[in-house]
Symmetry: C2
Subunit: 204 residues, 2 copies
DNA sequence: AATATAAGAGTACAACTGTACACTGAAATT
DNA sequence: AATTTCAGTGTACAGTTGTACTCTTATATT
């Protein structure tokens, strides 16, 4: 049998998973009760407090997990080392494949960004900013956008991330319509192309 | 005194306003109860059902009101008839002034888009699509983007709307920091400039 | 003037909520 | 081997929830 510490971590993960499952089933994080969570996790209500002092605290931990997923996306993209004219399509596909593979996390992120508590909104914002900064450093490193100040590069990275992440909800809501999902990916690619073309004409 | 019909409409509006007030105070629509709403509205809980069969129904009515606000934005922009190199800045300012003036509505919209019920998410999506289509027809009418197919124009309008509306939450969360709000407006203007520059190089 | 209508008030209740408290038993420490 | 620790259980309770029901009374209809 496992050690006490291991078992605790296990239950903790079960609680987090319970929330993500409930969100995936269509629930809204802000209206999920401690009792629903513990029921879903197969644990008694009061046990919750052995791990989190509030649902909000649990939510912040989920945001941390989302951060990990975002880092995985970045790592994958760097390893794949896309190049040439298919680079854009391949990057977008990589991103949405991750969204598909972690739909509960991304649904939670979008919910939290707009409708969570102040703390959760800020946490999500931070993760997105981090993601944007990583993109920025890749744009710099690979010299994908020559002759650009740091401030402008930051602004452009931000625009790219916004363009992509704004479509997450629409993408997930089309889960039963793969054709529309495909079109959506395609649309995003076009939008990013436009945007990158714009950078070549940009002068601060 | 007012007629029975007028009084009914009045209470109905009070209920809607109650929800928007609660959202403005930091509440999440999905977790607001009928009793909270009626309490805020100064009306007995059971009265709620004389007007709406569920909170979701009330929410859909709020989305309709948001639609009206969006139409006002469009009308204002057309009347103002911005032109020249300040056009972009003036349009963005117009938009964010409206956001400022209807913060409860816009907060509700962002919450609903990501965390509402399926019905509410779809309703919000529809309003945003409408908004995007109106922009598209203006781009066409004013020939702001020459030599562009309808499909591409639609895709570009969508990108513009996304870029602007994605910043609503960030903007409202900086309510206590007007300098940051100003910077945010400025950033959006730059992003739109890049994007429009991109369109001039675009070939399907 | 007599009657019908219907918006809002009041009452009631079962289901659910967060959380305080004492308990259990297996794992960790001594 | 004896003791301590502590994750998870069980019980309890006051507050909140949605909603069915009846009642009131001002307005509308006749």
């Amino acid at each position: 049998m496992a050690t006490r510490q291991q078992k605790k971590i296990q239950t903790r993960n079960t609680l987090i998973k319970a929330v993500l499952d409930l969100v995936d089933e269509g629930g809204s994080f802000s209206s999920i009760s401690i009792r629903e969570i513990t029921k879903q996790a197969g644990v008694v209500p009061t046990s919750f407090y052995r791990h989190f002092e509030s649902t909000d605290q649990l939510g912040l931990n989920i945001v941390d997990e989302i951060g990990i997923t975002l880092r995985k996306i970045i790592r994958s993209a760097r390893q794949a080392d896309f190049s040439g004219h298919r680079m854009m399509q391949e990057s977008v596909d990589l991103f949405f494949d991750f969204v598909q593979g972690h739909k509960e996390q991304f649904r939670f992120m979008e919910q939290g960004r707009a409708g969570g508590s102040r703390a959760i909104r800020n946490a999500v914002r931070n993760e997105l900013r981090f993601f944007s900064r990583e993109l920025m450093s890749d744009l710099e490193r690979l010299k994908l956008i020559p002759d650009m100040s740091s401030a402008d590069l930051e602004m452009i990275s931000d625009l790219v991330i916004t363009t992509v992440h704004s479509r997450i909800i629409d993408y997930l809501d089309d889960a039963d319509n793969p054709i529309r999902q495909q079109e959506l990916r395609h649309k995003v690619v076009k939008q990013l192309r436009i945007l990158f073309m714009g950078t070549s004409l940009w002068r601060t």
